[in-house]
C-alpha cells in the first residue's frame, strides 16, 4: 500500500487498543486512487474513541465522500504509547483509512470542540511534519483549517490555522472544495486560494487581519490588511435543515467508543438563552427537522448500522415541538428490533411521566438534570429558568416511577455567586433526598436513594452575556468546592468536581487573542498534549510556556472587561448582536430573566439569517 504500512503495523503489536488505528470499519469509505481527487484529512484532536463519538465529523465525512471528486479520511490523535512508537520509528501521522501521511492531503481540517484540545492540534501537526506556523508553510504544503464551536474565537490559533470555517459546514465545506478544484486547475499560488475563499461567507483567514494593541495590552483595532476581505466575518447556518444532508449512515467502530450508538439530530440551536451557555448563542436561530424526515433517517440508520441504541441529539431534547409524536413514531420502528431509545438533555420544567414511560419501553437508563445553580436568585442571574418546585416535582415523578439515582449538574464560580448560593447546592440536593423519603415505601423502589452532585467551574465564554466577566481565581474555586463538601451532611449525596487548573486554562484560551499562538507552540515543544485527560495534564509546563513567551494568562481569565473594550472576536458575526449581549449582561445583574425564543422574541439579531424559530413565531 505504501512505505509506512509495514512499519506502522509493527507498531500496532506494541500498543494498547490497536483497534484505534486499523480503520476498515463498516460504512467507512475507501477510495483507491487519490490522483484526481481533492483530499481532505478530517482531524479530531483527541483519541479515536472520543473523536468517533462526535456527530459533526460523521456528517461531514459521509457528505464529503459522497462527492465523486473528493476523498475524506479520518485522523485521530494517537494515544501516547502509539505516539512514542511513531516517533521512534520515524513514521509520520497517518490517515485511518489508507494509512497515508496526513501531510500529503490537500486540506487538513481540525474540529475544535474544546479549548483543551489545542495542544493536540499542534502535536498532530508536528507528528504530521507540517510546519506549525501558517507563515512557514510554503507552496505545495497542505492547507490547515479548523471549524467547530471553538473556531468562533480561534484567535489563539490564528498563527497556526490557515483558515477557519465558522458555523455549520454542510454548505460552506462544499464551496471550499469547489474553490480548491478551480484553484488547483489554475495552478494558483497559496495566497490566491486563501484570498478566493475569504470571499465565501463563513471563511475567516486570520493572516488577512492585523491586530493592534494598546499600552495596557488591550486591543486597539482589528483591521483587514488587503482589499476584498470582509471587515466582519459572518457565520454560516443551514436555513432549512430538511433540505440539507441528513445523516443516515454512520461508521460502526469495532471497539467500544464513548457514545457507541446511533445519533439522530432533531434540531439545532436552543430557545432558552442561558447566559453562561455559548452553544445557546452560537447556534441561533433554532431550526428543527420535520418528524417525517427524522423517521426516514432513523430507519436508514437502523438498517445501515445494526446498533442497539439510538440517542436523540440536540441542546435541549424536551424543547422539540413534536417530541411525543416523534417518540411514538420512533418506538414503532425500534421496539421490535430491541433498540433502546435514549433522551439526553431533558429539562426539569417539562418532564413528564408519560415521556419517561415511553423511553422505558425497552430499557431503563439513569436520570440527569442540570439546575446549574443552587438558589433561585442565582438561577435568575444566569437565566436558567428552572424552579425548585420543577426539580422536586420531577424527582417525585422519577422516584415514583422506580428510579433511585439522580445526577445533578451545577456550576460554581458564576457571576454574583455568594456563600449562600454554594450552600444552596447542598440544600437543593438534600431536598431531592427528602422527596424520596416522603414517598411511601410501597410506591418507591429500593430502600435508599443516591443523588450525585457534580460541579464544574464556570468558564466565561465569548459570544455570551458573561463574556465580560472575570473567572473566579483557582483558590476561590477550591474554597467553594470545600464549602460545598462541608455542607453535604449525608452519605446519600456523592460529590464530584472538576479540576480548577484546567478550567483556568480553558478560560484563557476561550477568551484569548492571537498572542497565545506562541504559548501553544512553546507548550507543545515542552510536551503538552491530551490536556483534557487528568493523567496527562501538566499545569507546570503550561505556566513555563506562558512565562517563556512573556504572556500573563491572568490577563485573559481574571479581568473584568469593560463593555467599551474591543474584544479579540469582535470581527466575527454570529448573528446575535454585541448590544444584545450587553443588555443580557445588565439584566443578569438586575436578576431579571429573559423569556425563551418561543415565548417572546427579544430581538437578539439571529433573525438576520432569515429562518428558524424567528419566523415560526411571526406566523403564529
Amino acid at each position: 500500500m505504501n512505505c509506512y504500512k509495514s512499519k506502522f503495523e509493527a507498531c500496532l503489536k506494541k500498543v494498547q487498543k490497536p483497534a484505534r488505528y486499523i480503520g476498515n470499519e463498516f460504512n467507512s469509505v475507501h477510495k483507491d486512487d487519490f490522483s484526481n481527487l481533492v483530499s481532505f484529512a478530517f482531524c479530531f484532536p483527541d483519541v479515536y474513541e472520543v473523536g468517533m463519538s462526535h456527530l459533526g465529523m460523521k456528517i461531514l465525512y459521509q457528505m464529503m465522500n459522497e462527492r465523486e471528486d473528493t476523498v475524506c479520511e479520518r485522523v485521530f490523535a494517537p494515544w501516547v504509547d502509539m505516539e512514542d512508537e511513531l516517533r521512534k520509528n520515524g513514521i509520520p501521522l497517518l490517515s485511518l483509512e489508507s494509512h497515508l501521511p496526513v501531510a500529503d492531503f490537500d486540506i487538513v481540517g481540525f474540529t475544535l470542540q474544546y479549548e483543551m484540545s489545542y495542544s493536540n492540534v499542534l502535536n498532530m501537526l508536528d507528528l504530521a511534519g507540517i510546519p506549525l506556523k501558517s507563515a512557514d508553510r510554503g507552496e505545495g504544503t497542505a492547507f490547515v483549517c479548523a471549524g467547530g464551536p471553538c473556531a468562533y474565537n480561534g484567535e489563539p490559533l490564528a498563527d497556526i490555522v490557515d483558515f477557519f470555517i465558522l458555523g455549520e459546514g454542510e454548505e460552506v465545506n462544499n464551496e471550499i472544495l469547489d474553490a480548491y478544484k478551480v484553484w488547483k486547475a489554475q495552478k494558483g499560488k497559496r495566497v490566491e486560494f486563501l484570498e478566493q475563499i475569504s470571499r465565501i461567507q463563513g471563511v475567516y483567514v486570520p493572516a488577512f487581519y492585523d491586530v493592534e494593541y494598546n499600552q495596557d495590552s488591550t486591543i486597539k483595532s482589528i483591521t483587514p490588511n488587503r482589499e476584498g476581505v470582509p471587515a466582519k466575518i459572518k457565520k454560516r447556518i443551514i436555513k432549512e435543515l430538511d433540505n440539507t444532508y441528513i445523516l443516515d449512515k454512520m461508521i460502526v467502530p469495532f471497539m467500544d467508543i464513548v457514545h457507541d450508538r446511533m445519533t439522530l439530530e432533531i434540531f439545532r440551536g436552543c430557545i432558552r438563552g442561558c447566559r453562561f451557555c455559548q452553544a445557546g448563542y452560537l447556534y441561533r436561530p433554532v431550526r428543527e427537522h420535520s418528524t417525517q424526515k427524522l423517521i426516514d433517517a432513523a430507519q436508514k440508520l437502523i438498517d445501515s448500522t445494526g446498533y442497539e441504541e439510538m440517542s436523540l441529539s440536540s441542546l435541549s431534547t424536551s424543547d422539540f415541538t413534536c417530541l411525543h409524536e416523534l417518540i411514538d413514531e420512533l418506538l414503532k420502528i425500534t421496539v421490535d428490533k430491541r433498540i433502546n431509545l435514549s433522551l439526553p438533555s431533558l429539562r426539569v420544567d417539562n418532564f413528564s411521566m408519560e415521556l419517561m414511560e415511553k423511553v422505558q419501553t425497552v430499557k431503563k437508563s439513569g436520570l440527569t438534570f442540570a439546575p446549574e445553580a443552587g438558589t433561585q436568585r442565582l438561577r435568575d442571574v444566569i437565566n436558567k429558568n428552572v424552579l425548585e418546585e420543577d426539580l422536586l416535582r420531577t424527582s417525585r415523578i422519577a422516584f415514583e416511577g422506580g428510579y433511585n439515582r439522580i445526577k445533578l449538574y451545577f456550576m460554581i464560580g458564576l457571576p454574583t455567586e455568594t456563600e449562600e448560593d454554594v450552600k444552596g447546592i447542598a440544600e437543593l440536593a438534600q431536598k431531592v433526598i427528602d422527596v424520596f423519603y416522603s414517598i411511601p415505601k410501597e410506591i418507591r423502589r429500593g430502600r435508599s436513594v443516591t443523588v450525585t452532585v457534580s460541579t464544574s467551574s464556570f468558564v466565561p465564554k465569548p459570544f455570551t452575556p458573561f463574556q465580560w466577566e472575570p473567572q473566579n481565581r483557582i483558590e476561590t474555586l477550591i474554597e467553594k468546592q470545600k464549602l460545598l463538601k462541608d455542607n453535604i451532611k449525608t452519605k446519600s449525596i456523592s460529590y464530584n468536581w472538576h479540576q480548577s487548573h484546567v478550567s483556568f486554562l480553558e478560560a484563557v484560551f476561550a477568551k484569548g487573542d492571537r498572542r497565545l499562538s506562541d504559548v501553544l507552540i512553546a507548550a507543545q515543544q515542552k510536551g503538552c498534549r491530551f490536556d483534557g485527560w487528568d493523567e496527562h495534564f501538566e499545569y507546570e509546563k503550561w505556566l513555563e510556556a506562558f512565562k517563556d513567551c512573556g504572556v500573563d494568562p491572568e490577563f485573559y481569565a481574571y479581568r473584568k472587561i469593560d463593555h467599551a473594550e474591543i474584544l479579540p472576536w469582535d470581527h466575527i458575526d454570529i448573528g446575535v448582536k454585541k448590544e444584545y449581549l450587553m443588555k443580557e449582561h445588565d439584566r443578569a445583574y438586575e436578576e431579571v430573566t429573559t423569556p425563551s425564543c418561543r415565548e417572546k422574541c427579544m430581538g437578539c439579531g439571529a433573525a438576520s439569517f432569515g429562518g428558524g424559530v424567528c419566523f415560526e413565531q411571526n406566523q403564529a
Binding site: 500496532l12 490497536p18 483497534a19 486499523i22 476498515n24 463498516f26 445494526g306
Partner: protein, 221 residues
C-alpha cells in the same frame, strides 16, 4: 436444527479486532442483515453467539468458527450471503454447516509463522530450538502468571522456507480450554533464542483447528 456453524476468515488489519469487539461486530452485522437470530432469556437478553476458539490479537486466520442460533428454518445459504454483505471486509464467511464437533473437544491448532530476519540463521539452528527439552516462558492466566515449558505445547514443527531475510514454518500448538498456547509467546521465545538475528517483525496465521475424536485427532468443523 437451528444452530448454524459458520466458518470464517479474519484477515488484514482485522487481526487487531479483539475477541470482545468481534462479538460486537457479529451482533451488529446480524442486526444489519435482518437475520432471525435467537436471544437468551433473562434480564439482559443477548444474541446466542458462541465462538469455538478465541484467536489471539494480532493473528490472522482462515479457519475460525462461530455458532449462531437462528429461528427454525433459517437457510444456511441465506445466512452466508447476507452476513458477507453486512460484515466489514476483513471478516468473510466461508461456509455454513450443522455443528459436528464440540468446541470442548478442541485440542490444538496449526499456525504458519513468518519471521523477518536480519542475519543468517541456519536450518539446524532453528531445529535446535525446537529440540530443546525445556523452553520456559511465563504465561498469563486468569489467576495470575505461571511458568510453563513451551515444549509441552508444541506438537509439530515443520520448516517451510528459509532465506536470508525470512523464516517461514508451520507449528501445531495445544489449544482449547485445557491447555492453550498463544503463538506469540512462542515467537517471542524464538526471537530471544536467535538473538541479534531476529527482528520484531513477524506474521502469524492460523490455518486449522483440531479436535479429539476418541483416541484420534481430526479437523474441527
Amino acid at each position: 436444527m437451528s444452530k448454524i456453524r459458520l466458518k470464517f476468515s479474519k484477515m488484514g488489519m482485522g487481526k487487531y479486532i479483539s475477541h470482545l469487539d468481534l462479538l460486537r461486530t457479529f451482533t451488529r452485522a446480524i442486526h444489519r442483515a435482518g437475520l432471525p437470530v435467537r436471544y437468551s432469556q433473562g434480564f439482559n437478553p443477548h444474541q446466542l453467539i458462541t465462538f469455538s476458539l478465541p484467536l489471539a490479537l494480532g493473528v490472522t486466520s482462515e479457519t475460525e468458527f462461530v455458532d449462531i442460533d437462528f429461528e427454525e428454518g433459517t437457510s444456511a445459504v441465506e445466512v452466508v450471503e447476507k452476513l458477507n454483505g453486512s460484515l466489514p471486509p476483513d471478516i468473510r464467511i466461508l461456509n455454513a454447516s450443522e455443528p459436528k464437533c464440540k468446541a470442548n473437544d478442541i485440542v490444538s491448532a496449526r499456525y504458519i509463522i513468518k519471521m523477518d530476519l536480519c542475519g543468517l540463521v541456519s536450518k539446524a539452528r532453528l531445529q535446535e530450538f525446537f529440540n530443546l527439552n525445556e523452553i520456559l516462558a511465563v504465561k498469563k492466566t486468569k489467576r495470575g502468571e505461571k511458568e510453563i515449558n513451551l515444549r509441552d505445547y508444541i506438537t509439530m514443527y515443520d520448516l517451510k522456507e528459509l532465506t536470508e531475510n525470512t523464516a517461514k514454518f508451520e507449528v501445531i500448538l495445544l489449544a482449547g480450554g485445557e491447555n492453550n498456547l498463544k503463538p506469540d509467546i512462542l515467537v517471542a521465545k524464538l526471537c530471544e533464542f536467535l538473538g541479534s538475528c531476529a527482528t520484531e517483525s513477524y506474521e502469524i496465521h492460523r490455518t486449522e483447528i483440531f479436535c479429539k475424536d476418541g483416541e484420534k485427532v481430526k479437523n474441527f468443523y
